[in-house]
């Protein structure tokens, strides 16, 4: 059953960016044991920062100023905790994972998935290849309105959705910020604090340091069982 073996190799690759926490690569021995089965049945649970992440384990996130420690503007300034700004208090003392993405090289801001924490569990995600023998062609029908059934013989990858996904206080916030890293003032190309005119209408005037800013657009919290049924078919198309 060469087919299934290759499939199982491919699977952890696909999932790994999202759920490396609880999944383990199967060694050759293990793989040899799955041979002969029609597919894979997966149960899983993963949790993200459920009791706070390593960076902010005390439940708050401080703000940082960029300080030029060696009085040399050609070397990068060092982010230093700014005591004058009171730290961001995470919900229930738990700071979630932060994922920041900059869409364009010269974009001044970042899109942020912030404060991701909580968990989800599922049982009965199935994965198998299946040979489809017929497929509906919705563009052709007979006089009683029945759609044409095309006879085919194509292999597809079929992922059976688990039926129920149990969410355990999973939450995230969607935000836009002027730095990817939380609380750190944005820096220019040389690693020095980014400056802006105090009065945007008078660009030649006095300058000030651009402080870290984040705008939370919205957040979502999920707790409880969500029904997710169906079969996801994956196949190549020309």
């Amino acid at each position: 059953m060469k087919t299934t073996r290759q499939l199982v190799y491919a699977l952890p690759l696909l999932i790994s960016p999202f759920a490396s926490a609880e999944m383990r690569a199967i060694d050759d021995m293990g793989l040899s044991q799955v041979a002969g089965q029609g597919g894979v049945y997966l149960s899983g649970e993963f949790a993200i920062n459920k009791s706070g992440g390593p960076l902010w384990e005390n439940g708050e996130r401080p703000y940082y100023s960029l300080v030029d420690h060696d009085n040399n503007s050609s070397t990068p300034a060092i982010p230093t905790i700014d005591g004058s700004r009171s730290p961001d208090q995470c919900e229930n003392g738990i700071c979630g994972l932060r994922f920041a993405i900059k869409l364009n090289e010269n974009s001044e801001g970042w899109y942020i998935l912030d404060d991701v924490s909580g968990g989800l569990a599922f049982e009965g995600l199935t994965l198998q290849t299946e040979t489809l023998t017929s497929a509906i062609n919705y563009d052709v029908w007979d006089s009683s309105g029945n759609f044409q059934q095309l006879e085919i013989d194509d292999e597809v990858l079929k992922i059976g959705l688990p039926g129920v996904i149990r969410f355990n206080n999973l939450k995230f916030k969607f935000a836009v910020a002027n730095n990817g890293e939380f609380g750190v003032d944005p820096e220019d190309d040389n690693g020095n604090p980014l400056m802006q005119p105090v009065d945007p209408a008078a660009p030649g005037g006095a300058m000030e340091v651009v402080q870290y800013r984040q705008t939370d657009i919205f957040g979502v919290e999920l707790d409880g069982n969500v029904t997710v049924q169906g079969n996801l078919l994956l196949f190549p198309v020309d």
């Binding site: 060469k2 087919t3 290759q6 491919a10 690759l13 696909l14 960016p17 993405i101 900059k102 869409l103 364009n104 090289e105 974009s107 001044e108 801001g109 899109y111 290849t129 497929a135 509906i136 062609n137 919705y138 563009d139 052709v140 029908w141 006089s143 009683s144 309105g145 759609f147 095309l150 194509d154 292999e155 597809v156 990858l157 939450k171 916030k173 935000a175 836009v176 910020a177 800013r213 705008t215 657009i217 919205f218 957040g219 919290e221 999920l222 707790d223 409880g224 069982n225 969500v226 029904t227 997710v228 049924q229 169906g230 996801l232 078919l233 994956l234 196949f235 190549p236 198309v237 020309d238």
Partner: protein, 581 residues
């Protein structure tokens, strides 16, 4: 199976691209492997239902800065016929023959249409760029294509398949919808015929006559009106100066000799001046000085009136030249009617034609094609064709907000919103992403969106479910119903006008539809080549439109607000930036 494994590799590539977010231009060897094959996917028998789980939306603040507590009490995605999510009906999202697709493909810009790798869909994106496309299912038959079916439903005026809207005698080659659009086309062709019948000469000579008449008759009269207007403006300005002088002289006289009975703006007689008989010389001098200023003012009033009369005469002459049918002798009717008629004819029949007898690529031709699509659908339904099932999607929210009554007492109030979409289709939708240098030469993500969204029925209710749950009449009375809502949103037009997403330095998101960017093959200093560029843009770039066959609040006899359509939307430039409140 090897094919499947390739597919996996592709899926991984797709994931890594989106994670990097900055799509890089591909080199030749990479480009040669982007052949347009992709990953197809479909979800069979899909049900998503949050049932008893607790969802909340956070981060939305009231005007007072407090977090608004929003409970997301319901969310479901099911097949059509789920009765607002109460019956678990499996839904189909794409299918093996009509899959959703993620693919990486080269642009076709610059390729000859006979080239085997040419694809008209990507013709506005250069062949040196690879783009990533996400596309939903697509259908070749008009009945399954939601764009044509949505247009059919708009003209049919009801939700096909519902009780009262399933009579086969209402469809077919001469069905209700076909008749409705035929009637619209008839009005347009009547207008066209009427315009053509008005003139004994043809379109091209008529346009030359209009141009000639404009230079020989209208322009001199317009120049005259301008000159008269200047004269009048000067007269008015002078009048104001003299009025001020007169007021000053009067104020001086009035303040120093308050016993007078004189009025500003009238001659001040000896008797009214009440100057003392003895020692009244300074009073009399002040009165005389005022009377001199009054005289000059009074004279200017007459001058202004003359200028006014002349201006009105010049305007009448100009107006007459435009509207008097006897003055524009080249054709029947007046000059202004001819200008309007030619303009309307061009809208109806396109800008290419030179004769009234030929009707080219104009509104009539476009409506004709829409009619063909509507007739296809109507005929297919008449011949027993069925529309595939769509999706039912719904969500309910509870908002807890602070309410302040008339006495200033603050209390908490709960608002509800319940959204149910019955029969939703998104076929023909696509999102294309590619990377290209911006004006400063820095790579950025460009995008193009084609969104087709058809919803048979969209209900938005704001009634408290504890009140309305048991009372369907009360629920209906506070529900906004939209029937046959079709939205075709087209943003971006290849490299000519890409859409871009960015974020500002103060932490807000920005969405921009760029100004038109003529490609390197367009000489921007040459008027003709720029004209050709703009003509091409206006002719080919897709427009957006929205149609709703019925908007209703409640269910009473006068609950309907009628049908709505917004047609031909196109943005030359659009920039949206969020603001933190």
């Amino acid at each position: 199976m090897m094919k499947l494994l390739n597919l996996m590799t592709l899926a991984l590539c797709v994931i890594s691209y989106s994670a990097n977010a900055d799509l890089q231009a591909l080199d030749d060897s990479e480009l040669s492997s982007a052949t347009g094959e992709g990953l197809g996917f479909a979800i069979e028998d899909f049900i998503l239902d949050t049932e008893t789980s607790e969802l909340a939306v956070t981060g939305i603040r009231s005007s007072a800065g407090d977090d608004i507590d929003i409970k997301w009490t319901k969310l479901y995605v099911m097949g059509e016929g789920s009765q607002s999510g109460t019956i678990k009906t499996p839904g189909q999202i794409g299918s093996y023959n009509h899959p959703y697709v993620i693919r990486s493909v080269r642009g076709s810009g610059g390729l000859d249409p006979s080239d085997p790798s040419y694809d008209a869909r990507y013709a506005n994106i250069g062949n040196d760029l690879a783009l990533l496309e996400f596309a939903t299912d697509s259908y070749s038959s008009s009945l399954q294509n939601s764009e044509t079916f949505g247009t059919f439903s708009y003209y049919q005026g009801c939700i096909w398949g519902e009780p009262g809207c399933d009579n086969l005698s209402d469809v077919g080659s001469n069905g209700v919808a076909v008749q409705a659009i035929e009637a619209e086309i008839q009005v347009l062709t009547d207008t066209r015929d009427q315009i053509a019948a008005t003139y004994a000469i043809d379109l091209a000579p008529l346009e030359s006559s209009i141009e000639l008449y404009y230079t020989s008759d209208i322009v001199p009269l317009e120049t005259k009106v301008q000159a008269e207007q200047q004269d009048y403006d000067q007269a008015v300005a002078e009048l104001l100066v003299r009025q001020d002088d007169m007021s000053d002289a009067f104020d001086f006289f009035d303040q120093n000799f308050p016993d007078n009975d004189c009025q500003v703006g009238e001659e001040c007689s000896n008797a009214d001046a009440n100057c003392p008989l003895f020692g009244g010389a300074s009073c009399r001098d002040a009165r005389d000085a005022y009377n001199v200023e009054f005289g000059e003012y009074d004279e200017q009033v007459g001058v202004r009136q003359d200028e006014y009369n002349q201006l009105i005469l010049a305007r009448k002459d100009l107006d007459g030249a435009k509207t008097d049918p006897n003055k524009f002798t080249a054709a029947n009717g007046s000059y202004i009617e001819a200008v309007e008629n030619v303009e309307e004819f061009r809208v109806l029949c396109g800008v290419e034609t030179n004769e009234f007898a030929t009707c080219g690529e104009g509104l009539i031709a476009r409506k004709g094609r829409t009619r063909d699509g509507v007739r296809d659908v109507s005929l297919a339904l008449f011949n027993g064709g069925q529309r595939r099932g769509g999706l039912d999607i719904g969500a309910s929210f509870e908002f807890v907000v602070d309410a302040v009554d008339a006495n200033g007492t603050s209390s908490q109030r709960t608002d509800y919103i319940d959204i149910n979409m019955k029969g939703l289709f998104v076929d023909g939708t696509s999102l294309r992403l590619w990377s290209a240098p911006d004006e400063e030469g820095v790579d950025e993500i460009n995008a193009e969106i084609r969104l087709n969204l058809f919803i048979k029925e969209l209900d938005i209710s704001v009634c408290d479910p504890f009140v309305c749950g048991a009372d369907p009449v009360a629920k209906e009375a506070s529900t906004l119903n939209l029937d046959n809502l079709f939205i075709s949103l087209n943003l971006g037009y290849g490299e000519t006008q890409p859409m871009r997403l960015s974020a500002t330095s103060d932490g807000n998101f920005q969405f921009e539809l760029t100004k038109l960017r003529p490609g390197p093959d367009v000489d921007q200093n040459d008027q003709n080549s720029m004209q050709a560029f703009y003509d091409g843009y206006y002719e080919n770039s897709p427009k957006s439109f929205i149609s709703i066959s019925d908007v209703r609040i409640g269910s009473g006899p006068d609950a309907s607000l009628g049908r709505t359509t917004v047609d031909g939307l196109r943005a030359q430039y659009l920039k949206v930036t969020s603001r933190d409140l």
